[in-house]
């Protein structure tokens, strides 16, 4: 809001200066000042009004030629006292206006410009600081990137080493498991063999006993029965 006010004030001052310049030009060029004053005024106007631009200048030159052609005598009366007086008043008016302008417009304009300069300076400093910070960050990230690559290499190396250890461990474990399985299988085989042998032996014993019983029953006579009892009694008495 303050900035807008300053700009508006500056615009008003500029407009006033333009108005003054234009009015001066107009006064110099007024025909009613004297009979040939129009030609003189056109000289003053051409000299004073630089703001008119090139177009106006060419127009004035033509007008001057035309005035020179028609009123060749008028050149000698261009600084007549009324004109000088009018000019003096205008100058005073201009000076008063300039004083007023300087009095009331210098500080705001200077302040606005100073503020603008400060703002731009601050922005430049801020941008430079941010640039420096960005550059610093860039360097840091660059350094980090370099270190990250190094870290990645380290991690990969560690992972490879760990994997190697793990591989060795797994292989060792697998070998141990294989040995255990083999031992268990061997034990199972031995057990099965022993069980089969035992069964076979039992079967042989049963068969042998059955065959012996059959043979004894077949061949055992009454006399044998008596002899068995007697022999047993003899054996018992002998043991006693």
């Amino acid at each position: 809001m303050r900035e807008v006010k300053r700009v508006a004030r500056g615009t008003v001052l500029v407009a006033a200066a333009l108005w003054f310049a234009l009015s001066c030009g107009t006064v110099m060029a007024t025909p009613e000042s004297a009979g040939t004053e129009g030609a003189n005024a056109s000289h003053v106007t051409a000299a004073a009004d630089a703001a008119k631009g090139a177009a106006d200048s060419s127009h004035e030159m033509k007008h001057e030629e035309h005035a020179a052609g028609e009123h060749g005598e008028a050149h000698h009366d261009s600084l007549s006292p009324p004109k000088v007086k009018d000019f003096g008043l205008r100058v005073m008016n201009f000076i008063a206006l300039m004083i007023i302008l300087i009095k009331f417009g210098a500080k705001p304009i200077a302040a606005a410009l100073s503020s603008r300069r400060n703002k731009i300076k601050t922005e430049i400093e801020d941008l430079e600081a941010r640039k420096a910070e960005a550059e610093k960050s860039y360097k840091e990230f660059e350094a980090k990137l370099a270190s990250v690559e190094k870290d990645i290499d380290t991690i990969v190396e560690k992972a490879v080493a760990q994997a190697t250890i793990e591989k060795a461990r797994i292989i060792e474990k697998a070998e141990q498991a294989a040995a255990d399985i083999q031992r268990q299988a061997e034990m199972a085989v031995q057990r099965e063999v022993m069980e089969a042998r035992r069964k076979l032996k039992n079967e042989i014993a049963d068969q042998a006993a059955a065959m012996a019983e059959e043979l004894i029953i077949k061949n055992l006579t009454a006399a044998d029965q008596v002899k068995i009892v007697e022999d047993y009694l003899v054996k018992v008495e002998a043991v006693q």
């Binding site: 035992r198 014993a205 042998a208 029953i217 009892v229």
Partner: protein, 181 residues
């Protein structure tokens, strides 16, 4: 359910009295006779032990029994006491315990001989002699036949067991074959 301890207590008491009177053999015969009735006549057991019958009726049955077998007064009182104390059902056990006491007193052991075939008297005498020699007591043998023995004998006297059967020898042979590597 056998009342062995109780029966032995009664038997010991009666045996002590019988030994004092030198009459325990007669008591033994009477007890064995009454115990025999328990096995041969189930009605006697029922009449003496069934609680549905009044006690005086059961006592009268026992009195009648005592009178019929003609035992002395002590034995008669003993049998009546069993009915009064409601111990008539353990009379067979008492008779068995009394028999053991009598056998011990007379140094007699009862044994059994199981054989695959019937044994001759001579062979039985030989077995008895061998058993008497082993136990140091007079042995009374009872015999039985079991063809599954195949041959030989099994003699039992008290805790002593003599197994000379072919069946056992074959079993030993079988075990020795099985047990040997």
């Amino acid at each position: 359910m056998k009342q062995t301890i109780l029966a032995r207590r009664y038997a010991k008491a009666l045996f002590a009295v019988g030994k004092e009177n030198d009459n325990y053999e007669a008591y033994n015969e009477a007890l064995q006779g009454v115990a025999g009735l328990y096995f041969s006549h189930r009605g006697v057991v029922d009449a003496l032990t069934n609680p549905l019958y009044p006690l005086d009726v059961r006592e009268k049955v026992m009195v009648g029994l005592v009178n019929s077998i003609g035992v002395d007064k002590i034995m008669g009182n003993f049998l009546n006491l069993l009915v009064q104390k409601k111990r008539a059902e353990i009379l067979p056990e008492i008779a068995e315990a009394f028999q053991i006491l009598v056998d011990t007193e007379k140094n007699i052991s009862h044994g059994t001989v199981i054989s695959a075939v019937g044994l001759s008297d001579e062979l039985q005498a030989s077995i008895r002699a061998a058993l008497e020699k082993l136990t140091g007591k007079k042995v009374e043998l009872s015999t039985s036949v079991d063809p599954s023995l195949i041959g030989g004998i099994i003699a039992k006297v008290g805790d002593l067991v003599l197994d000379g059967s072919i069946r056992t020898q074959l079993a030993g042979l079988k075990d020795s074959i099985k047990g040997r590597e």
